[in-house]
């Protein structure tokens, strides 16, 4: 209904081609990355650093956004009446969009910096919310693809920002961020499920996307 599996898959090649063109224009990584900090153990001192907490929150929400696309997008599309085959093809599109998002993100950071990259994620989440609010299969597919594009680069952005902004404790900051990242995978999707039981899946997704957009935009000023 609304979208065939073939149409869903046809959206993927242009997306990946655009990404290849976009990333071909810049060299990455921009400079040699070297290990910093002594032990890499997360200390109490780093837990009080505002920038560290901001990066943890950013990466947590970014990963929760990825988990949202992985787990809820297809279920939502099926609920809208999309064919099982088309929904599976849409899943391939979302996975491709995440690849594209992660590749394109490196160019974004090199050219405009981490704050701009996180603001792009906020914009992608806000746009995805608007498209989901429209309803219908095609706007929803575009919404999830946009969200996948937007959130895929968040964790690498947070990790490279941690290296740069917490140079004295870069190693510990990276360890702390990676450790909390799994929480986003584990807690994100059930939280949406719990919200969905209270108010329905579409409002739950809209709330979650609004939180991602608002928090990402707010915290981008810290970078």
């Amino acid at each position: 209904m609304g979208l065939s599996y073939r149409e869903a898959l046809l959206l993927l090649p242009p997306l990946l081609l655009l990404t290849a063109l976009w990333t071909a224009l810049s060299a990455y990584p921009p400079e040699r990355v070297s290990a910093t900090g002594a032990s890499g153990i997360v200390s109490r001192a780093i837990l009080r650093r505002r920038i560290f907490l901001a990066l943890v929150a950013i990466s947590l929400l970014g990963v929760a956004g990825e988990a949202l696309v992985d787990l809820w997008a297809v279920i939502y599309l099926r609920g809208l009446g999309a064919e099982a085959l088309a929904s599976s093809a849409a899943f391939a599109l979302f996975s491709g969009a995440m690849v594209a998002g992660r590749l394109a993100n490196s160019t974004l950071i090199v050219r405009w910096g981490a704050a701009a990259a996180i603001r792009c994620t906020a914009a992608a989440a806000a746009s995805a919310a608007l498209l989901l609010a429209l309803g219908g299969v095609l706007p929803s597919v575009v919404a999830f693809a946009l969200l996948a594009l937007g959130v895929a680069g968040v964790l690498p952005t947070a990790l490279s920002a941690a290296r740069e902004l917490l140079a004295d404790e870069g190693e510990a900051a990276v360890n702390g961020i990676v450790a909390t990242t799994y929480l986003g995978f584990v807690v994100g999707p059930p939280t949406i499920g719990w919200l969905a039981e209270l108010c329905g899946l579409q409002p739950a997704l809209l709330i979650f996307l609004a939180v991602i957009a608002a928090v990402m935009y707010g915290l981008s000023r810290e970078l």
């Binding site: 988990a67 992985d70 809820w72 297809v74 279920i75 099982a84």
Partner: protein, 98 residues
């Protein structure tokens, strides 16, 4: 011509094959989708590249070793597969490259 081909695809009983890296990816990543499709009558299958031989997260001294760990991870995977309604699970055991 197009309509015929499309029609043939939809006439076939639907099957979904998931190829993933490790045991637990099926539950962490998109267990909900697998469960949903299985509940709708789609035949769902899973292949994992490894048997979870290196999936130890605790202290190194408590690591039971690759073979024992693989047996634990495989048992966990088969329990998860039953919950998710997977028809068949195949573990490739490609850990030497992982």
């Amino acid at each position: 011509m197009e309509t015929t081909r499309e029609g043939d695809i939809y006439a076939e009983p639907l099957r979904l094959l998931c190829i993933l890296a490790h045991p637990d990816d099926e539950s962490m990543g998109f267990g909900g989708i697998l469960a949903r499709y299985a509940a709708e009558g789609v035949a769902t299958y899973l292949i994992t590249a490894t048997r979870g031989e290196r999936g130890w997260q605790g202290r190194p001294e408590d690591d039971p070793g690759p073979e024992a760990l693989a047996r634990i991870r495989e048992a966990e995977l088969r329990e998860a597969a039953a919950v998710l309604g997977l028809q068949r699970v195949h573990l490739m055991g490609c850990c030497r490259w992982a």
